[in-house]
């Protein structure tokens, strides 16, 4: 993994007193054992389950331990459209969230810097959506996009939508819902980066006859890059696995299903645990590869 170079921190602690390292061990052990038991081994369970074979009794939901690699081929073959759709939706929604969030973060972190009350108020507005269940918020979008809603009727009356054309169930509705739900995850890290931005650097850019646009791209944006990177990861990763917005009970339709919807359906409705697990393993593998490449390209190692 590219996030942290393994084994780096061990240098120089030979001089650390024995007792201190025992205290550290006692502090660390319970939490790390917990993560080992309930985060790491479940990932192993997922791989084991993804290789199981159908039980020869033929009972629904019963599987035997095995090494059926073809489960992966089957999952890919059956659900390739949903897999690609997940990443396309996640990419578009992440970019949309960035477009909406960056100006907000810039305004709060730079423009409102010397107005603490305004800053506190706006930050509260940023996190306000967190305080209302995200399922209720997504359902509110269902109401807004619904066929009887004033918004839909307005769009139909001005001719943006044909009389028999609706927003609900479309890719647009799903991506809008995904974008909306993850805006705070994008805004907060960018805000944190911009808050620390030394405005004298921006002034220096202006002094050297750079236009505001040039200064932004040469000074401000590069300095906010760590925030942009964490923000895009914090939105892209959860969106790629989300299945609420794309669900047909919320904003989705007959062809908006994402990988999460398929995992959910295989796990609960058909109880095809091997396929559900194989899809999850592939999603995880894709995320690990994408994130490693992305983090290495953008040159930020320190994320925690």
């Amino acid at each position: 993994m590219a996030f942290v170079a393994l084994g780096q921190g061990s240098a120089g602690n030979s001089s650390a007193p024995k007792k201190a390292s025992r205290v550290a061990f006692i502090l660390l052990a319970p939490g790390m054992i917990y993560l080992g038991l309930f985060f790491l081994t479940p990932l192993v369970s997922l791989v084991i389950t993804s290789l199981k074979t159908a039980s020869f009794t033929g009972e629904i939901g019963m599987y035997d331990y095995g090494f059926q690699v073809s489960n992966y081929a089957y999952a890919l073959d059956q659900y390739l459209p949903q897999i690609t759709r997940s990443f396309i939706y996640a990419l578009i929604a992440t970019l949309m969230a960035l477009l909406i969030s960056y100006p907000i973060a810039y305004f709060i972190g730079v423009k409102a810097r010397n107005k603490p009350i305004l800053q506190a108020f706006l930050l509260t507005l940023v996190i306000a959506p967190f305080f209302i269940s995200f399922l209720l918020r997504t359902f509110a979008w269902k109401q807004i996009f619904s066929n009887e809603s004033p918004a839909t009727q307005f769009l139909q009356s001005i001719g943006v939508l044909a009389p028999d054309q609706y927003v609900i169930g479309s890719s647009f509705a799903v991506i809008a819902g995904l974008t909306y739900n993850f805006i705070p995850f994008m805004t907060l890290p960018i805000y944190t980066s911009l808050e620390r931005l030394d405005t004298r650097l921006v002034e220096a850019g202006a002094d050297l006859y750079a236009t505001p646009v040039q200064t932004f791209w040469k000074v401000t944006f590069p300095l906010s890059l760590p925030g942009v990177i964490s923000g895009t990861l914090l939105t892209f990763i959860p969106i790629s696995g989300d299945y609420v917005s794309a669900s047909r009970d919320f904003l989705g339709g007959s062809d908006t299903a994402m990988i999460g919807n398929v995992v959910e359906a295989n796990f609960f409705r058909i109880q095809d645990y091997p396929t559900a697990s194989a899809l999850s393993v592939m999603l995880m593998a894709a995320i690990v590869v994408l994130v490693s490449v992305y983090v290495r390209k953008s040159g930020t190692e320190e994320l925690l």
């Binding site: 942290v4 780096q8 790390m32 309930f38 985060f39 389950t49 100006p103 209302i132 697990s277």
Partner: protein, 264 residues
Amino acid sequence: MKFSLGKWLLPTYVTLAFIFTMIPIGYTFVFSFNKVEKSNIAWKEFTFDNWLNMCDQPVVCEAFGNSLAIAVISTLISTALGTAIAIALGRYKFKGRSATNLLLFLPMATPEVVMGAGLAAQFLNVGISKGFWTIVVAHVMFTLSFVVVTVKARVATLDPRLEEAGRDLYANASSVFWRITFPLLLPGIMAAAMLSFALSFDDFIITQFNSGPETTFPKFVYTAAARGIPPEANVIGSLVFIVAIAIVMIVQVRASLKAKKLRA
């Protein structure tokens, strides 16, 4: 001074963006006052009934109670475990620090559906039946890293000389911790606990995979969405929102009052 477009562009954009983010909150609130016969999709008539009788749909209130109980228990556990890890990371040198950091970072970089399905597959393979406590186990797992990150930031601001001073004055290790370290870390621990509570309370995906027959508030809303969410759910959502905003405002006002006192 001439009118400049550039000067107004950003504030206008930001205002519009905030209106966009507030619309669904407004909708949830408004529709909690809707008089509903079949589905709460379109507006019918104004009524206070949903607020006055919000437990008329007993399932909603039961689900809400479960969510609160799960959030409280899992927050207590993950805050305790996470604070210990944060102190170890911030205060001690030890072997395997990078591996520790990696293991803490991974849950935050894993899609919920993967963690949820993985833990569910494990419960299935081991033969544990799912319910209230498996949800707690799952919530502690995914909130732990967020607690560590939040408390670690506070540990980094601690002045180690304060603890040294305590030891110089013959305080033993436990009284140094409880009378110096812990009180100084408390704001960070509280922030972490609030974050953990909010994450647990609002979690749906991991919960769905590990809940079995147990309902939580988000799970109830998800299941109800097919038939139409009862307005009582909007009432509870709006109530939680009001309480949470009130808490944030109290915290901020207190912080700014404290800052004023320090300046005076």
